[in-house]
Amino acid sequence: MSGALVVSGLHAGYGQSRVLQGVGFELAAGQIVAVLGRNGSGRSTLARALMGLVPARGSVRWRGQELLGRPPHAIARLGVAYVPESRDVFPRLSVAQNLALGLQPGAGRPQRWTPEWVFDSFPALAARRHVAAGVLSGGEQQMLSLCRALMGAPQLLIVDEPTEGLAPQVVAQVDALLRELRDQGLAVLLIEQKLDLSLAVADRLAVMGHGRLVFEGSANALTGSRDVVREWLEV
Amino acid sequence: MARSSFAGFVGSALALVLGLLLTVAPLAFESRYALGMASQVGIAVLACLSFHVLWGQCGLLSFGHAAYTGAGAYLCMHTLQALNAQAWPLPVALLPLLAGLGTAVLALPLGWLCTRRPGTPFAMITLGVGELAWAVALMWPAWSGGEAGLSGNRAAGPAWNGWDLGQASHLYALIAAHTLLGLVLVWGLTHTTLGRLLNAVRDNPLRVPLLGYDPQRLRLMAFVFAAFLAGVSGALAALHQEIVTPEVFSVHRSGSLLLFTLLGGATLLGPVLGGVLMVTVMVGLSGFTPAWLLYTGLVFMLGVVWAPQGVAGLLLAACRACVDGRWRPDVPNAVFLFGALCALAGGVALVEMAYQLPQHGTLGPVRHLAGLALDTGQPTPWAAAVGLLLLGVALCRWVRKNKVGWP
């Protein structure tokens, strides 16, 4: 299988500390891959490396183009969107302005994901449309960050812990949204903490440990291999 | 060892060693010039230490720090004049500490006004207070001596074992003692809980009250302590110069204090290096070349680009690289160094020749530099300087690009 996103031999880190040590995987369009792992295993670093936010070596090919070495905005313009775990909403801009910034410069293509759609599907945000994003509640910020990333009509979505701080009902909503995105043909790289959610929505799962992927396979395969779960995911 | 504690340890050690060196170094020289420079360095280090307490420890960027060095200077000079006139039984050597305390008292209400908010409001309100101090000093000549300032004789009072501070070396001993005292005090500060809490206020003032401490009170403590050090420094400067003019309040003073402390770096080593640099550049360099201000500007720009952690940071990184064995005397490093020196020589030659041009009338077209006579009327020296500069830059770039052995 040759995926739309092909990562191989990816090394990345901060200064002296090497966090990723040769990560490789593939992700096809219309697929969700969930990356699991303990805290500090380097999953967020992987996302940042793909986005060009930390210096990295190796190869990241997206639809045949090498991403490494490009600045983040160039990567974004190739149809890659990223939802950081720290949400990074623009605190002084209103919710609507935050969304407006997600619309890519110059990209006039028609798409499903518009501010109107956001306000329809997330009433919490609709009510706060003109409020500065900095005063939103934690969960509202999380929703906003996710929606903002969709505004650019991405083909590849990298989401880092999208459900953190969300109430169970909204978690279910995000769950449904991710499935919908997949059905629309997006490739989704999902970094998650919640095992049950990952098992439910992901087509394939990857487990990170010691800067490498120590497991890759389907949900069944993961639940089947007790030792992977015990060694890399449980206490 | 973790990076931060390594830096802290090496930095403090270096700072204290440098401080000690400063204390004994001039005793090795006979020259009064060296003694004068060393005295000024001591005074500058003390002032930079004061600034460091505010900025490095507490994250408060003061744009008007000269208000406090200046206040110390005037307090000292007024007392000295009174001493000269009335022969009080007060040793002149005590004046710096007294002036420091006086400044701290002054800083209490001012600090209350300034420290209510950190960040830009603090910076700007200190700018305002600094400018006001300056303007008031100029407008109140009865107190400040006006443009000509006040002068006094530091050799006043009873000589004590033949020590009367009239001698430059006696004064130097006094300055060195105070500088070391300041260094030890600030070192101590960074090793108490107060130091840590000040750092905490610097990094995230929102969280500190949730640890039980009032951030404004902590900031005020730092402010008053800094004012004390500044006052001592100002008083020593007053004794050294034996004159105080309203200029001690000038924005220029505040500016250079800020610039050189920042250039020095944010560890304890920073203010020491900052003080040394300040005197080297402003007193030393300006005696050698008319282009000193240009060099100062360039040093600031390049300093921030190449040594964002200040000179101290650069030094510590070099220490660390040596310890880790990443920096060794091999060929690429030598080439890099050679290239850097070439570029420096070429650049300096260019600047000096350019500064000669407007002076053809007075001093003739020839600029004497390091034993060379560069005739700025001829094309050859220009070409040579440009060539040297380009060669140097090219060499450095080449080494960097090929990353041979470079950290």
Binding site: - | R32, A148, N153, Q241, V248, S286
Partner: protein
């Protein structure tokens, strides 16, 4: 055969740099021309520049550096404030290290206190002080009965304050008919636009302005007058310093300017040749005549003392008489104020008798009167301790 090194401490950077540099060139020029065989003592003079950036504080640094480098003669002039500071520092130094005293020759600072209340044995003024210049001005004004109302506009520091004070005193004493209708001290070298001052002068109904402003403070004042298109006579000291004549010449209207000074642009004889040479070499006017005075005086003193030792030279300087432009000058021993005459000159187009324009313009300063030293001499107000 000996070489005497002189430290020149004055602004070589900052807003007063042009004047400082011109003074330095003048000193160096005179040292070269009047040194060696050309002076009675046969000493060579070398003048080394120390930049004080116009600040009293930097001046002290410069003085320290100069003393450390072995200089024992110091010359300074641009700014009375600085002179006070240097005089104090020199006195302290000489008290602490009496074996090698330092002499301060003040070639331009006009504050009378320097040779008055705060006089010092080690300070010698080789220019007229403000009381003398004011005396010359008042003498001249006495001959202009049409002029009834003047405005005093001065820089707010020692020089400007003293000028204002002594002018008022002199007028009260000798010209009661003249009315000072307005008086103003403005911060020195801070203002960029003198329009409000000009408005106030006009509002006061003054017929002339008396100002000691120099450098940019003079240039800006003239510019503001020109901008307001007013032709108000200026009575001043420093209209010939670098930058001022070209500004005066540039305006749309001829400016009526009178200057009291040691010099004018068209001296005769030896002095004329020196000035012409200077102009040729430096493409600048020779306006700091006190440099000539200074070198002449040192030569005379050293020849009389038969030594270049500062203590001996200081001893013979008191009472020494020597030739200067326009006659003889005497260094008064009681207060170390040189007694010498002054010209009153007027700004006017060049003519055949006065062919040399100021700063290459077609205008020049033409002598109206020469007032001799005897007429300007003021009582001694100094009581200085002698070592």
């Amino acid at each position: 055969g000996e070489t005497v090194r002189i430290a020149f401490i004055d602004p070589l950077s900052g807003p007063m740099a042009d004047i400082g540099r011109n003074s330095l060139r003048s000193w160096q020029f005179m040292a070269e021309r009047l040194g060696g065989g050309a002076n009675p003592a046969g000493v060579r003079f070398v003048v080394a520049p120390f930049d004080n950036k116009g600040s009293p504080h930097e001046s002290l640094n410069a003085l320290k550096a100069a003393i450390d480098q072995g200089f024992r003669y110091v010359v300074q002039g641009n700014g009375s404030g600085v002179t006070h500071v240097l005089a104090d520092a020199v006195a302290r130094h000489n008290a602490r290290r009496p074996e090698a005293p330092v002499l301060l020759l003040n070639y331009a600072a006009t504050d009378p206190a320097l040779t008055g209340e705060r006089c010092s044995y080690w300070h010698f003024r080789i220019e007229a002080d403000t009381t003398m210049k004011v005396a010359a001005l008042v003498d001249f004004l006495a001959e202009q009965p049409a002029l009834q109302k003047v405005y005093l506009l001065n820089q707010d520091y020692a020089h400007g304050q003293q000028l204002a004070r002594h002018f008022k005193e002199a007028v009260a004493e000798r010209l009661p008919a003249l009315e000072v209708v307005g008086e103003e001290l403005h911060p020195a070298f801070q203002l960029r636009d003198f329009a409000p001052q000009v408005q106030r002068v006009l509002a006061s109904g003054a017929q002339a302005v008396v100002t000691g402003n120099w450098g940019e403070d003079f240039v800006h004042l003239v510019q503001a007058l020109q901008a307001a298109k007013v032709q108000l006579p200026l009575f001043t000291y420093y209209a010939a310093l670098p930058g001022a004549p070209s500004t005066l010449a540039k305006g749309p209207l001829p400016m009526p300017v009178y200057q009291v000074a040691l010099h004018h642009n068209n001296p005769e004889g030896e002095m004329g040749r020196l000035a012409a040479d200077f102009r040729r070499r430096h493409k600048e006017d020779f306006v700091v005549y006190a440099t000539h005075t200074g070198i002449q005086m040192l030569g005379a003193a050293m020849s009389r003392a038969r030594s270049t030792d500062t203590r001996r030279v200081a001893d013979v300087l008191g009472g020494l008489a020597f030739p200067v432009l326009g006659g003889m000058a005497t260094m008064r021993g009681d207060d170390h104020q040189l007694q010498l005459g002054q010209f009153i000159t007027r700004w006017q187009p060049v003519d055949t008798r006065h062919p040399v324009g100021a700063e290459g313009t077609d205008h020049t300063f033409v002598p109206q009167r020469y007032i001799a030293a005897s007429a300007l001499s003021q009582p001694v107000r100094c009581n200085m301790p002698r070592p």
